[in-house]
């Protein structure tokens, strides 16, 4: 029965599994002999916590909850930890901050500690509760969701964790937002490929259709009631209105299954954006001679003059945009010298693969640090707006296609050396402006 008697918690020595003798004694006292955790046992503990003002049944559920939260954290770290430089203890501090105490800090005036009971949670106001397990348990409705799933869902929408991950370049997107964002076409496709269970594709599409129909109204009502757009989740009334003929738990599970299928497809597509800039690499190979196609021959100056005009416009655009960007990067250098090294090597003209090898990181890490495509694109936009005032480029103002070609040519020119052995303009600017200690 370790699931109900051992707590995954963040202590001074890091994450650990903490046996709780009081919980073990309670389980023994109740005569529970099952080895594995189950929804039925979860419900038994829940009902016991409601029946009397005893913190022990909730303590067992807090243990039970900590394991799936720990698994969720581990999965997040496995997938994104290195790429986004996530700190395991920072995330654990948001989710696994329950130390197993029978009392919790309570927002009274002055602040006090109260017995961690169901009755106390039920009396709580809207202010967030600590530890996180209190926040999960006070809003858990066993008719709608299992405890592990509810823990996962609350983790997905836990504001401080979301803020931390957002700052690390990650977004947590709830099942409910994912379902609302998906078209019937997408649902049909993913259910055909990844769906399972009792729903046919037509039934999944129909359920999802009803969900989308009612979602907007429900979210508008939530906004009116709370003053916030975020934080909406379907309650049992909402779920019942979607499928009046079946238990709300089943409706919820079906929606979660559809969301899971969408994630399987979507995460693969989305993650491709993390692995470097193959488009830019391809563009580079096509960069040579491209301005011939965009400048107006009749009025164009000779090649050297044209190149001088382009370089001057790009230089001004870089001088306008890059100092603030580089200053922001340089603030991070003291904590992470390998980032400065990556920038130095970039300025010297090394490829991302070579930089990755020398910095002992993956190429995706280098790509993320340099963010070359975004920066080059923004510089090209500014330079294009300046260049079209010159007669040689005036024809680019006549059609979207011509303007796009000019923009792409500028962007490619920024990152591609003019001749072998030369350094591309963007790299040269970094080389000249990167402050070395």
């Amino acid at each position: 029965m370790e699931a109900y008697t051992q707590l995954r918690t963040l202590g001074a020595a890091g994450l650990r599994l903490k046996p709780l003798p009081q919980a073990a004694a309670y389980v023994q006292q109740q005569g529970i002999e099952a080895e594995a955790p189950s929804p039925g046992l979860d419900l038994d503990f829940w009902e016991q916590s409601q029946a009397r003002p005893d913190p022990l049944p909730l303590l067992c559920l807090r243990c039970r909850l900590s394991d799936p939260l720990h698994q969720w954290l581990q999965a997040l770290l496995r997938r994104h930890g290195q790429q986004h430089e996530l700190e395991p203890t920072a995330i654990a501090a948001y989710l696994l901050d329950d130390d197993g105490s029978l009392q919790i800090p309570w927002p009274t005036e002055p602040p006090s500690r109260q017995s961690f009971t169901h009755a106390l949670l039920a009396s709580a106001g809207p202010a967030p509760l600590h530890p996180f397990s209190a926040e999960v348990l006070r809003s858990w409705d066993p008719r709608c969701s299992s405890l592990p799933n509810w823990g996962r869902e609350r983790a997905q929408s836990h504001p401080p964790l979301k803020a931390y991950l957002r700052d690390s370049g990650l977004l947590l997107i709830t099942d409910w937002a994912l379902l609302a964002d998906s078209s019937p076409k997408r649902v049909a496709e993913v259910w055909e490929s990844f769906g399972g269970g009792s729903l046919s594709t037509a039934q999944a599409v129909a359920l999802h259709g009803r969900y989308r129909e009612l979602y907007r109204t429900a979210k508008a009502a939530h906004r009116q009631a709370t003053g916030r757009i975020s934080g909406w989740r379907p309650d049992s009334t909402f779920l019942l209105s979607l499928a009046p003929d079946q238990p709300v738990t089943e409706t919820r599970q079906q929606l979660e299954a559809i969301a899971r299928a969408i994630r399987l497809l979507q995460s693969g597509q989305w993650q491709r954006s993390e692995v470097g800039d193959p488009d830019l690499e391809l563009d580079r190979r096509q960069a040579a001679g491209q301005f011939d196609a965009v400048s107006n021959d009749a009025e164009a100056p000779d090649g050297e003059q044209l190149r001088a005009q382009i370089d001057a416009a790009l230089q001004r655009a870089m001088d306008q945009l890059l100092p603030a960007e580089l200053a922001a990067e340089q603030k991070r250098f003291s904590k992470a010298p390998e980032k400065q090294r990556a920038w130095q090597l970039y300025g010297e003209g090394l490829s991302q693969r070579e930089i990755a090898a020398r910095c002992d990181h993956k190429q995706a890490w280098v790509s993320k640090q340099l963010d070359e495509k975004r920066r080059a694109t923004a510089i090209a936009t500014a330079a294009a707006a300046e260049l079209v005032r010159l007669p040689a480029f005036h024809s680019c103002t006549a059609s979207p296609q011509a303007a796009t070609r000019l923009h792409e040519a500028l962007r490619n020119h920024l990152v591609e050396p003019e001749q072998e052995g030369c350094v591309a303009p963007l790299r040269l600017w970094i080389q000249q402006n990167l402050q070395t200690p």
């Binding site: 977004l171 495509k373 979207p400």
Partner: protein
């Protein structure tokens, strides 16, 4: 909830580099407000002083956004949306229609905005042909929007107003005051919406139906290869018509536009008007007018079965018009030689 299910059903998504993460949190803001805030933030970051309007009603999702005086319809969807709904009312009246359609994917929860790209009005018309459409909105795949915020900014900062014509989704007006297409693109099969949807333009192999009658058959060495652009014409009750609306006219004609072939291909162009019935005479008084830069040519039918004009490559927009006494003139979208 097992380990494997967690790994498969990824819940955290890496923020794409092009995403705009709002610096100031607006927890109760509507998507349009977040998009406007994102635009402002990005313009400020780039030090671009572009006017953004309408100043007193910027957050109204029913209003077009005026970015650097270009009319942009902003449509929003969730961050992971695969389709986006386009409200159609702004497209009903061509003179009031947007010049650009910009998609914005908004995560109001995380206060993140992504602008995947823009479509020109002409591209919207093209996309509408295969879109799922109701009376009030149509749905387009978000993947259709390409180029990101930078394409939007490039268009509004670089292009002349006439390069971004306003085109409505309503039936074609008799006279089309629209923008510039590239001749070589058209004749290579890249017929955009205004040509295919409104003018009924199609491509035909030269020699099959492009030039009717012995008089107008071009010499094989000049016009005998490649494709010609075919547009059905008709004399309506009060206007010269093109496309579907020409089909019901009693007097039906055909306009053909074709390049030369071989060495002459990039240097010459032939424009022909002939009756749909081979050998039939054209109505007397029908005129073909072609302008290119400062040069203009006009020929009038008199007991003839076709009118044709040959153009040589030079700078300047090419405008083709069909005139008939007492009817409104049909003016085709301008063309440009592609270099």
């Amino acid at each position: 909830m097992t380990d494997s299910s967690l790994d498969q059903g990824l819940e955290a998504f890496a923020i794409p580099t092009e995403a705009i993460v709002l610096a100031d949190q607006r927890p109760d803001a509507q998507p349009r407000t977040l998009v406007v805030a994102a635009l402002r933030q990005e313009l400020q970051r780039r030090r671009l002083a572009l006017p953004l309007g309408p100043e007193t009603d910027l957050d109204n999702p029913e209003r077009l956004l005026l970015l650097n005086r270009v009319a942009v319809q902003i449509v929003t969807a969730g961050l992971l949306a695969d389709q986006i709904a386009i409200p159609l009312p702004p497209w009903q009246e061509a003179s009031q229609a947007p010049q650009l359609l910009a998609a914005a994917l908004v995560d109001d929860d995380n206060q993140v905005v992504i602008l995947p790209g823009v479509l020109t009005a002409q591209e919207v018309i093209s996309a509408a042909a295969s879109a799922v459409t109701s009376a009030s909105e149509m749905h387009l795949d978000t993947s259709l929007f390409q180029g990101g915020l930078d394409r939007l900014l490039t268009y509004v900062m670089v292009l002349q107003p006439e390069a971004l014509p306003r085109v409505g989704l309503a039936p074609a007006p008799p006279s089309l005051a629209v923008g510039i297409s590239e001749l070589r693109d058209l004749l290579a099969g890249r017929i955009d919406g205004i040509w295919s949807n409104l003018l009924g333009a199609s491509l035909q192999p030269l020699g099959a139906a492009a030039f009717r009658g012995a008089v107008t058959t071009p010499p094989a060495d000049t016009f005998g290869a490649g494709l010609s652009l075919q547009i059905p014409l008709g004399l309506g009750p009060d206007a010269v018509l093109a496309g579907d609306s020409a089909a019901s006219c009693v007097e039906r004609l055909q306009l053909s536009v074709a390049p030369g072939s071989g060495e002459a291909e990039s240097q010459s162009l032939r424009v022909v008007v002939a009756s749909c019935l081979q050998g039939d005479l054209l109505p007397d008084g029908l005129a073909l007018r072609v302008s290119q830069g400062d040069h203009s040519h006009r020929i009038v039918a008199s007991a003839t079965s076709s009118l044709h004009l040959d153009l040589q490559q030079r700078d300047g927009l090419i405008t083709i018009a069909i005139e008939f006494p007492g009817l409104r003139t049909l003016e085709l979208p301008s063309l440009l030689w592609r270099r």
